[in-house]
Symmetry: C2
Subunit: 445 residues, 2 copies
């Protein structure tokens, strides 16, 4: 991953790069809020119990230890061990349980936060990165139509970013589960694990592994046929039906896939495709599952994944089904920056630099800045009263488009330092062109 | 601190509370950007060396340990120990050194991020909280006028929040240092430590402590006289001069204080006061120092502190002087929420709920939502097609002001559920009153 960092796996951005990231975060937030998702933040820290509640052991976790306790045999005995969250789903599930009495269901939230994974530094993976999640959670029940809604919100959100088009690949646990049951496969988890390797080791490799685990050749053939199917309309469902395996669970799953493809054909044509080989996550998702590919950047893998879980959270008495999806923002931003997919028009928010003739008159320049800011125009006053040429260079190096001059006679002029045009202007009335007011993020070369 | 949390010291907010916090963060960001500060984020993690570089040992630090390495005698030997940052100054200093070649100086940045302190849980202090910092950093030199600028930006930023007025209390290290030198006190650090206790133990206590450390009675009297001075105009400077101690350093400090008070009198009357007893931070600040009191909430202590340092960062060859200030956002939000200083008008971003007559016509409701959203109106479609009364209650419980109905004849009506007014409306043209478009944050009762 081509991120600048002085500590492997912990990317940081330069100011102009941060403007690109910030515009992406702002855009995601805007779309999520347009769809009624409420903002939420959870603490960075969970108890180890909570982090491992789902039997999740594949994720690398950073544990916390007070510096003062370091090397001590025993930590503070009053407190359970604490670790940094590795995703936003585990903390959200905990939050829902703790606050259920104060939430209204179905509860829609978005959450944009850093997560951490205690990877070994030499593995070069991100150890800190930003995720942007949306989830809809019900109390006891959650209608299927939310499984249609989630990918459409995400496609809308991603379509507003400076990136190539995305395709959301979907599958449905019910189809695969029903199919396995229909052909007498009992170890559904193993079937999923093998199918998941299809892109890596090919159909022969998958077949060999399945046989190793005791699958019959007929079962292997059928599963590979199923996994080969994909499409963005009813034909893919007919393809499944044509395999001649049928039961209520398959049919329910196919109807759900069909409803999703139909809605997508209307709202986001050609942006959603059923791929029956998608197996990742099907061990814990119970209905629709999502992966998202970025056109021309398929090497990134899925930039946005999620699905439906019948029990996002449960305390034994109550159960909270949910459906959600998570964008790997840092991976996306890292690619955008490394491939120059987008660049910021300047490295600072500043639109106008007010020049300072000499230190005695700095207060007059402050007055102009005050007037401009009061009308929402980001403004700096020149830090030095050096020659105007030097003050213009200060603006130029930051991409600040305008420099404001106060004449000895108290006249005002503003110069567009890109074109060199200089006009007289009133600090209480002048407005920059809308495009220049704030930094913009545009597609790169 | 009255924050809701299931883990002591790690506050979390309910959705309506988060809207209050978010509006405060948005407002701070807007003011900072109006003044040309660029956004920056640094990683949450620093090496222990970096965290202790300033000989800082008073801050409690959380160290990280990979779960997989836990209990092992030795951690990954390839990597220096890592800990979570306890403020945003240490990481910013490190960032400036690492990226100096790609930054333009003076460099102005704001940084709004979580920080962590490894406090003992039973102490009840925040262990995770949000800070909002602004700093201006020069390469080699940094003009004094930035010491005037910083508190004025902060006063403007805080004045736009739903909180009582603030007063920025200022002092200047040069005055105190020069005064100590003028009266023959060599242990300036001890003088500062004692004066810092003035509010806690009173002048007699401070005097006793100073005598214990070998200060002469005459010195003690003079320092207590100095510390008793405060004011928001030239008189306080005359008061210092009247003490009859004078040298170049005192005079330089008094001129700086005077310039600050003069600018503040113009830009923020009565919001800046010199208090010569402010000693906190004077051990590492080298010029002006700031503390900020919230009217009627003085028990919070300073909600925003900072100052000038001649060397924010240095690599031996280069030195980067800076001036900055840091708002303790979580402490402020916690007080705002606990004291009902501000409340959100609703708990969701949603302005309109589109009712659903029956599941067959859900797509028609989706169409309306699509039209409204395309004009920037946050909209949800009712999750259920239950009786309209129930759908209205869904909106009511969240504070969603409008419910949209599609008649069997395809007619459209929108109901303000607060007034009960219902009017026919065109989904491609209807606009809510500007005040209803997004959640607003207003002063509480």
């Amino acid at each position: 991953m081509p991120a600048r960092t002085s500590l492997s796996g912990f990317p940081e951005w330069l100011p102009a790069e941060r403007i690109v990231e910030l515009s992406i975060l702002d855009q995601l937030r805007e779309t999520f809020e347009l769809h009624g998702f409420a903002s939420l933040e959870t603490r960075a820290v969970e108890t180890l119990d909570e982090l491992q509640r789902k039997g999740e052991t594949s994720k690398e976790v950073y544990m916390l230890e007070r510096l003062q306790d370091r090397g001590n045999d025993r930590h503070d005995k009053k407190e359970r061990p604490l670790g940094l969250h590795f995703d936003l789903t585990v903390p959200f599930a905990r939050y829902v349980l703790e606050n259920a009495g104060n939430l209204t269901f179905p509860f829609r939230r978005y959450q944009i936060q850093k997560v951490w994974r205690g990877e070994r530094p030499q593995d070069g993976r991100f150890r800190e990165f930003t995720q942007a999640d949306i989830d809809i959670v019900g109390n006891g029940t959650l209608a299927f139509h939310h499984e249609v809604e989630i990918p459409l919100v995400i496609i809308e959100a991603l379509s507003k970013l400076p990136i190539p088009p995305v395709t959301v690949l979907v599958n449905n646990r019910k189809v695969v589960q029903g199919f396995c049951e229909g052909i007498g496969v009992t170890d559904v988890e193993q079937a999923l694990r093998s199918i998941d390797k299809l892109d890596k080791i090919g159909p022969e490799g998958v077949a060999a592994e399945m046989r190793e685990f005791g699958f019959e050749q007929e079962q292997v053939d059928r599963l590979l046929e199923l996994a080969s199917l994909s499409g963005d309309d009813e034909q893919v469902l007919d393809g499944v039906r044509a395999l001649g395996v049928s039961n209520d669970l398959i049919e329910e799953g196919l109807e759900e896939l069909g409803a999703l493809l139909q809605a997508a054909a209307k709202r986001a044509p050609h942006r959603v495709r059923a791929e029956l080989k998608i197996a990742r996550g099907l061990d814990y998702y119970t209905g629709t599952v999502y992966e998202t590919m970025l056109e021309g950047n398929e090497d990134l893998g899925s930039i946005c994944s999620g699905g439906r879980y019948d029990s996002l959270a449960s305390d034994g008495k109550r159960s909270f089904p949910g459906v959600g999806i998570s964008i790997g923002v840092s991976r996306l931003v890292s690619r955008i920056l490394a491939s120059d997919l987008a660049v910021a028009s300047r490295s600072v928010p500043t639109c106008v630099l007010v020049a300072v003739m000499n230190e005695e008159s700095r207060s007059a320049s402050d007055d102009v800045a005050h007037d401009l800011r009061s009308r929402g125009i980001p403004t700096e006053v020149s830090p030095s009263s050096a020659k105007f040429g030097k003050q213009i260079r200060y603006a130029d190096r930051r991409g600040i488009p305008y420099v404001w001059f106060i004449g000895e006679d108290g006249s005002h002029e503003v110069k567009d330092i890109r074109s060199g045009d200089q006009v007289s202007a009133d600090p209480k009335a002048w407005e920059p062109p809308a495009n220049d007011l704030l930094p913009t993020v545009k597609p790169g070369e």
